[in-house]
């Protein structure tokens, strides 16, 4: 009885809980920075740790120690709360993702819906944070973040529903489980996979869809007034969002921790970093789109394609 509780504690705090996730978030940021640097003919982080692997942690600690400024005109309560809420909302869904075996730490019927809801909440929080800073650039940034939500949310959710329909369950663990017996969803629903990847790029606000924080246009948009600890938390939350995005793709389309031979977190991590590679690759390959380009593209192409995918699943019965 006692040992079971200790086991649960280890699972929550060490692996695959908080400690592992923090480590994974920082490591993913480093991988992302290194890959993009390679594509852009640069070195990327070099100095802290071997090949600069500790650079994200060093950045985080440095930001924590910096002066934390709240603008006089800002709406204090939402402005101060926003980074904390953002971080907690970004970590929470990760507990629903199965990393070892087919059972996640938290698993219930409908956790996919909960994750969709939390992902929308993150976008709303971004809007609130930018709006509460009452800076002209962050106001524009937050309006753009809101508009961007209209563009990517529907195709993203439709693409995430596709695997659920195929598996006949709204629980991520069950969707993963279903993929052992059949094929990976990637082979059954390639269109859904592409739509989800593109929408997640928009959700993560990465180039080419870094429209709400476009540095050369609106001086990093909604983030501009955040500094010190708040900025550190926001950046960590962004790392977690990135981890969540890759983890979702792995769980929904690449069969989670199941490999051709055996179940293992190593298989899971291999798939995870393939996703990270794809997302980083896309980041290096495009110029930034304008918000109207994104809205038009999302409604003209992404949403119909996602609908087509669901239609195909229903008609073909796979």
């Amino acid at each position: 009885m006692v040992s079971e509780e200790i086991w649960a504690l280890i699972q929550i705090f060490l692996f695959p809980g908080f400690f592992f996730l923090f480590f994974l978030a920082f490591f993913t940021e480093w991988v992302d920075r290194k890959i993009v640097a390679k594509f852009q003919n640069r070195y990327g982080p070099l100095h802290v740790g071997p090949k600069g692997v500790l650079q994200p942690i060093a950045d985080f600690i440095k930001l924590l120690s910096k002066e934390d400024i709240t603008p006089r005109m800002a709406d204090k309560v939402p402005f101060n709360l926003m980074p904390v809420l953002l971080l907690s909302l970004a970590i929470t869904p990760l507990f629903c993702i199965p990393i070892v075996g087919s059972n996640a730490l938290v698993s219930f019927e409908g956790d996919l819906i909960a994750i969709m809801f939390i992902m929308s909440l993150i976008a709303v929080l971004v809007f609130i944070g930018g709006w509460a800073s009452t800076n002209r650039f962050s106001t524009i940034g937050s309006i753009r973040a809101g508009l961007q939500l209209f563009a990517y949310e529907i195709p993203m959710n439709l693409a995430m529903i596709g695997p659920a329909i195929a598996a006949g369950s709204l629980s991520i663990s069950k969707i993963v489980d279903w993929q052992i017996h059949g094929f990976w969803n990637l082979f059954i629903q390639p269109v859904g996979f592409a739509v989800l990847t593109i929408s997640l790029m928009a959700h993560l606000q990465r180039v080419p869809f870094d429209i709400p924080e476009a540095e050369s246009e609106i001086v990093s948009g909604w983030i501009v007034e955040f500094s010190g600890k708040k900025l550190a938390l926001i950046r960590l939350a962004k790392d977690f969002e990135f981890v969540l995005a890759s983890a979702l793709i792995v769980s929904l389309f690449l069969g989670g921790p199941y490999g051709p031979w055996y179940i293992s977190p190593i298989i899971y991590l291999a798939k995870f970093f393939i996703c990270v590679f794809i997302l980083s690759n896309l980041r290096a390959a495009f110029a930034r789109y304008r918000i109207d380009h994104l809205l038009a593209g999302a409604w003209k192409y992404l949403t119909p394609l996602a609908l087509l995918q669901i239609f195909l699943i229903k008609v073909l019965g796979v």
């Binding site: 476009a214 246009e217 789109y289």
Partner: protein, 392 residues
């Protein structure tokens, strides 16, 4: 909802201090007011206390990127006053360095514009290739930025046979890269979306607002000092004045990439047909009384230097008109009606160099009269302003 957005003087999209006050209506610009005067350096005033030889080096520091164009323009205007005939070889070396500077500037511009549209990868690539030409300039002149090549009566360093060999290799590399960028910039959908039809300047407007350089040529106006009024060795080298009729940022991009290829051809021809002989003649310290102007096609457009001498070894008046100032009016026209997201791309489109274009004129608002202020007047004004502002 209409609201005002300031761009600059400190803004990550603008490397240099200029302020634009945009009136925005639903993310569209309805009005724009530029404001200069943040980095006025008083170069024209400094010039009145230096002799002609020293001014060659000052002229190079007008602009960091088109430094040779200014030095060349200044040397030419003094040579005209002195009625000095410079050796043929010096003319060819001047042409070569001027064209290398153009290549260097256009690669820099391509990178910056890519950065403004959020395409960091292209930015890194363009600047890496720019390094090749900068190394060549370093090899010829010993410096990467202010080359110190032009002087009154010729050039200061010769181009030797081993240098020519190395230059030919790097020119081949640069030509291949220019071809590659042509392909990227005409095919990549995300670049096309951000540049085609953005920042329109019609030919009629370009003519009326006196646009110069690649900005004018992208509106279909073949205005190029190298062809219209050949200086250095341009009269003996045939080349094409690149024009495009798109009138938008994309055309400005294509004009510059094609100019890189033209420049490479000019340099190749000049290296092959360079005559033997001395590279400079001795110039006297004193310049006879008179006035002269000289025009040079800098990478950004037309440079104009006016010089008035009074018979001593120091000029009485030296007036500089850098290309950015000529293009500023066209820029304001281009910015009308563009989307907020396109402002940085359009501003970068004219290749602005604000420090070159700085001007100050003190005009009394009531009497409309021009005032001349000396150092102590400025001192007094600054003190008064701070006293009033902070109630000291």
């Amino acid at each position: 909802m209409t609201f005002e957005i300031p761009f600059g003087p400190q803004h990550p999209a603008l490397e240099e201090p200029i302020n634009f006050m945009f009136k925005i209506e639903e993310e569209r610009v309805v009005n724009v007011k530029p404001r200069l005067g943040y980095v006025h350096r008083g170069i024209e005033k400094i010039a009145e206390n230096r002799n002609y030889q020293q001014l060659v080096y000052l002229s190079e520091r007008i602009c960091g990127i088109c430094s040779f164009a200014h030095a060349l323009c200044y040397s030419q205007v003094v040579e005209e006053l002195l009625d000095l005939k410079i050796p043929e070889r010096a003319k060819f070396i001047r042409t070569i360095v001027a064209e290398m500077e153009r290549i260097q500037n256009h690669y820099l511009w391509l990178g910056l514009t890519a950065k403004e549209m959020g395409f960091e990868t292209l930015f890194m690539y363009a600047w890496r290739d720019r390094e090749t030409i900068i190394e060549m300039l370093d090899m010829i002149s010993g410096k990467r930025v202010n080359y110190g090549m032009s002087t009154i009566g010729g050039v200061r360093r010769d181009i030797t046979e081993p240098m020519i060999k190395r230059m030919e290799e790097s020119l081949n590399h640069l030509e291949a890269r220019a071809e590659y960028y042509t392909k990227v910039c005409t095919k990549d959908p995300s670049i096309l979306k951000r540049t085609v039809g953005i920042g329109i300047l019609r030919p009629r407007e370009a003519r009326a607002l006196c646009a110069v350089g690649p900005t004018a040529r992208a509106s279909g106006i073949p205005r190029d000092v190298r062809a219209d009024e050949p200086y250095a060795a341009y009269g003996e080298i045939s080349f094409k004045v690149v024009t495009y009729r798109g009138c938008d940022v994309a055309s400005r991009m294509y004009v510059r990439i094609d100019e890189i290829k033209e420049s490479i051809k000019i340099i190749r021809y000049a290296l092959k047909n360079m005559p033997e002989g001395p590279i400079r003649v001795k110039a006297p310290m004193r310049v006879p009384e008179g006035e002269a102007i000289s025009r040079v096609e800098a990478p950004r457009g037309e440079n104009l230097h006016f010089l008035k001498s009074n018979g001593t070894d120091k000029p009485e008046r030296w007036k500089i008109r850098a290309p950015t100032l000529a293009n500023l009016l066209s820029l304001c026209r281009m910015l009308m009606g563009v989307n907020l997201a396109d402002i940085p791309v359009v501003i970068a489109g004219i290749d602005p160099c604000i420090a070159c274009a700085e001007r100050i004129a003190l005009i009394d608002a009531k009497t409309k009269k021009l005032k001349v202020w000396e150092g102590k007047d400025l001192w007094r004004y600054a003190n008064e302003w701070y006293r009033k502002r902070y109630g000291l």
